[in-house]
């Protein structure tokens, strides 16, 4: 199908873009367009105006800020994929990004666009949740930051006001020696994941897990941290029974059903994927 009639502006600076969002009713930010354009063509979305942020260079960057890596909202997924900084400091993000669509869509798709689209299956929001990312939001009235945990306001709905836009995200790399793994299950490579698991963990000097993050994507209305499963691994030597206990807690997630996939199937995937992801992360961790 064809997109509905719509206005279009292409501001050249962030300030100009924020003025557009403040001044135009029912405006929608157009970043890489890999979801929004499809939604327009399918007439799922009816904005009155598209604010195209593709020509705002100040929104596209990968910045090493010491403790954190800050990524601009307009940074293309392709640039994350090929970034040495991401490969070295945020290896789980690189592993996940290879599952985002296809090369042809990663070339245009953006980090900020994926975060704001907030598809429960999407890889980038899942990793943002796993890394306790901070999201930076701006409007003509000012800026604010919020934790990824507070970003989903509902199914595919970010906690953004109509005049606000995401401008960047900060992710804190884990210490060298940590283990990581991102795994997903989809019918074909590049399809939306039915379920995914992101695991980071670290061993303390006593060879016991002293830091752990387990996140499930695709199972619920938004990516979800599995606090109980994390607790089950913390303080253990991560032996087979410990992994099994944590995975079983992941399998008990409150999973959603849809026309294609029943909740019990997502739960089983959650258990299996989390078990495999924990195992893979353990292989990569320094004990």
């Amino acid at each position: 199908m064809k997109a509905p009639a719509v206005d279009y502006v292409a501001p050249r600076s962030l300030d100009e873009a924020l003025q557009c969002l403040a001044g135009v009713d029912n405006a929608r930010v157009l970043a890489g367009g890999q979801s929004l354009m499809a939604m327009l063509n399918m007439r799922f979305a009816f904005p009155d105006c598209l604010v195209d942020i593709n020509r705002i260079p100040e929104l596209a960057y990968l910045r090493d800020e010491g403790d954190t890596i800050r990524i601009g909202a307009m940074t293309r997924q392709r640039d994350v994929e090929f970034s040495d900084l991401v490969r070295d400091r945020l290896p789980i993000l690189r592993e996940a990004i290879l599952n985002v669509g296809h090369r042809q869509t990663r070339n245009r798709g953006t980090v900020g666009g994926s975060l704001c689209q907030l598809d429960p299956s999407a890889e980038i929001p899942t990793i943002a949740m796993a890394l306790d990312a901070q999201l930076h939001v701006a409007s003509a009235a000012g800026t604010r930051s919020l934790a990824m945990a507070d970003f989903p306001a509902g199914y595919m709905t970010p906690a953004l006001e109509a005049d606000e836009m995401l401008v960047g995200v900060s992710m804190q790399p884990w210490e060298p020696g940590h283990g990581w793994s991102f795994l997903e299950f989809s019918r074909r490579h590049g399809d939306f994941a039915i379920a995914s698991a992101a695991v980071l963990l670290r061993f303390g000097p006593d060879a016991r897990v002293d830091r752990c993050s387990i996140t499930l994507g695709g199972v619920s209305t938004a990516p979800v941290r599995m606090g109980q499963a994390e607790q089950a691994l913390l303080g253990t030597k991560a032996e087979a029974a410990d992994i099994e206990r944590a995975a079983a807690l992941c399998g008990a997630v409150d999973a959603s059903s849809d026309a294609y996939v029943p909740g019990w199937y997502r739960q089983r995937l959650a258990r299996v994927l989390s078990s495999r992801a924990i195992t893979r992360a353990l292989e990569r961790a320094t004990r």
Partner: protein
């Protein structure tokens, strides 16, 4: 800032030639290429980025032209399947290999696949089969079963290496 739904001029380069056309904001790049610039080699399939038939190169990298507005193409360099062959008498090595190895039947998906593969071979002259298949995962072909497309991509890579070797 004044906004409007009216068509506006779009200036861009297509296959190395400066072009201009009119586009309302809602018009996607694939329809602009086909309807306004009369370059009908780019095919329109699903119009939501899944099938890959409309894939073109935008500033050298592959993109779905159905997921990009024509007005976003202002100032961009677009390459379409019409830009592959040097002239009408000589096929591009990719096209030659597709022809020789029967890598197409109905041909609907072919223009998009050729563009993605031309991007791949420009960056990686000697890809392995897995890499080719990864690129092809962004394209749907319902005729061939992909085997001959993979074979043709690998043969084209060899042809290009030989050609460029001779050139040196």
């Amino acid at each position: 800032m004044a906004t409007t739904q009216d068509p506006r001029p779009v200036h861009l380069s297509v296959n190395g030639k400066p072009c201009q056309g009119m586009a309302a904001p809602r018009l996607h790049l694939a329809d602009f290429l086909r309807g306004e610039l009369k370059l009908t080699g780019t095919h329109v399939g699903c119009e939501h980025g899944v099938c890959g038939a409309c894939t073109v190169l935008v500033d050298g990298v592959s993109a779905r032209s159905c997921l990009m507005l024509a007005v976003q193409g202002e100032g961009c360099a677009i390459t379409t399947v019409e830009g592959l062959a040097a002239d009408e008498h000589e096929l591009h090595p990719l096209q030659q290999a597709f022809h020789e190895l029967h890598a197409l039947q109905c041909g609907f998906c072919t223009p998009g696949i050729l563009m993605s593969l031309s991007e791949l071979l420009a960056a990686n002259p000697d890809p392995d089969e897995d890499t080719v298949r990864d690129v092809l995962s962004g394209h749907l072909c319902r005729c061939t079963g992909y085997q001959n497309i993979v074979a043709a991509a690998l043969r084209a890579a060899r042809l290009l290496r030989e050609r460029d070797g001779h050139a040196r």
